[in-house]
Symmetry: C2
Subunit: 277 residues, 2 copies
């Protein structure tokens, strides 16, 4: 464990979620982590596909990086049974990719409704998770349901609160199914402390960024830690009090960061990780 | 009751929230309602202030319009006790303005935190509501706490769920304090049906618009009813099953509607009110 304790959090826990540096290929991200002393990475499937699964796994392994999670499975609701089956098959592939990459956490972004029927779409999500569970168990991969901010209820996920994600996860053994706590998605929730405490050992990931006021964009307006109003120290305390001691992914969807040189982004996020997370 | 039943809802229940036609003065909005057969209006205080309170009240009364609510009080949290006192005094004035305008409903948009302390700001909201209650009772005005969509937690309201609004409202008698159910703010909530049922006779207003996918803007991206993904018929059914039979305010913060001729907006919203609400 080479990282020192700075401002309360150990650099050793920092993981680079690749969406933060979308301008980089997986190879560039892996090399960037090496230059900046980052020991974990959270790759996205489209970046893995560019390089190929086997080559990606080898690249990461040879660099000595650990994989905190794979983004993402999910996106279960669809208008027809055939399309829903196709989504589930994609999730089965995602489970295998996660295992091949050396992580036991597959993040699920559950998807929007195909129509105006939210309860119906939520039932499709539950069916999809259930249908993916056996393959996940066979691959020793845990399914990590990520509640998204309610402003994504129309286009990205009908699962929008930690309570709802846990209601679903608790239908399965804790060893197989849990949740991701992303501060951007849950910081507003008056029940966040109670629900994180309830989550306990079902917390399979902790993601940080910040909420800029006012938000510059719906999808690409997340802020660098310290640039917004989220009480990051308090939330990390709550998550750690619940027992989570794993990697902390920095996942910032922000257009300005994607337009900047990746090394500048990594230098800044490493500093901010130590000073405000 | 001159309105007929069309598509399930009576035109008689339509109220024009003035924020929908921000391009109009209060006088223009009142005259527009007359031209379009709209019997209710929900004025905003800055528009009332332009014309003057007494003149506004007379204008509305002489036109035979009823006032469904006044927007808005609230905005309680502030960094200093002096500033919080000043916010409460503004709410006392808002209560009196509501009474003078002939409505017994003052909508509260509770305001953001002055810092990163959400629980602290929520306590300030509770103090502010309590401090406004006596004047509200004296004026026979009910305080209607409006939970805002969680994407406004950073800049407009720390009260972001119906459950939270009701937890606060229930500290006071139902005759004095309730909630506004605005579909745009609550449609995503997996608990919306249960919380609306819980609200019962504390529902002091029902607001409609729609959620466009993807949202074109954070503040001014609300959609005309029928242009988005909210299941308006289902939500009206839930609200009516809870006992609410009052006016339905059309409140759409949308830049394109504000750039359009007001009469076109009123013609469209009246048609959509009948066909999809």
């Amino acid at each position: 464990m080479g990282g020192g304790v700075h401002g309360g959090v150990d650099l050793e826990r920092l993981s680079l979620n690749q969406a933060t540096v979308e301008q980089w290929s997986l190879r560039e991200a892996v090399e960037g982590c090496a230059r900046h002393g980052i020991g974990w990475i959270g790759p996205w499937r489209h970046k893995v596909a560019e390089l190929g699964l086997a080559a990606s796994a080898r690249l990461i392994r040879d660099a000595g990086l650990r994989v905190s999670s794979l983004c993402r499975g999910g996106w279960f609701p669809a208008a027809t049974p055939a399309e829903r089956r196709s989504r589930i098959e994609d999730n089965l592939r995602a489970v295998e990719e996660a295992a091949e990459l050396g992580t036991d956490v597959l993040v699920l972004v559950c998807g929007p409704a195909p129509d105006r029927d939210l309860p119906g779409a939520r039932a499709m999500v539950a069916e999809g998770v259930a249908a993916t569970m056996e393959r996940a168990a066979a691959c020793s991969v845990r399914l990590a349901i990520e509640p998204l901010h309610p402003m994504f209820a129309g286009d990205r996920s009908v699962i929008v609160t930690l309570a709802e994600a846990l209601d679903l996860a608790e239908r399965f053994p804790a060893s197989r199914c849990g949740v991701v706590v992303d501060v951007y998605h849950v910081w507003w929730d008056p029940a966040v402390e109670a629900q994180v405490a309830r989550a306990g050992d079902r917390i399979l990931g902790y993601h940080v960024s910040d909420w800029i006021v006012p938000p510059p964009d719906v999808l690409l307006g997340r802020g660098m830690m310290g640039d917004g109003v989220i009480d990051l120290r308090r939330l990390r305390g709550v998550v750690e009090a619940a027992g989570y001691e794993g990697p902390i992914e920095v996942e910032i969807f922000n257009q300005a960061l994607r337009d900047a040189p990746g090394d500048e982004v990594l230098a800044l996020l490493t500093r901010r990780f130590l000073s405000v997370v």
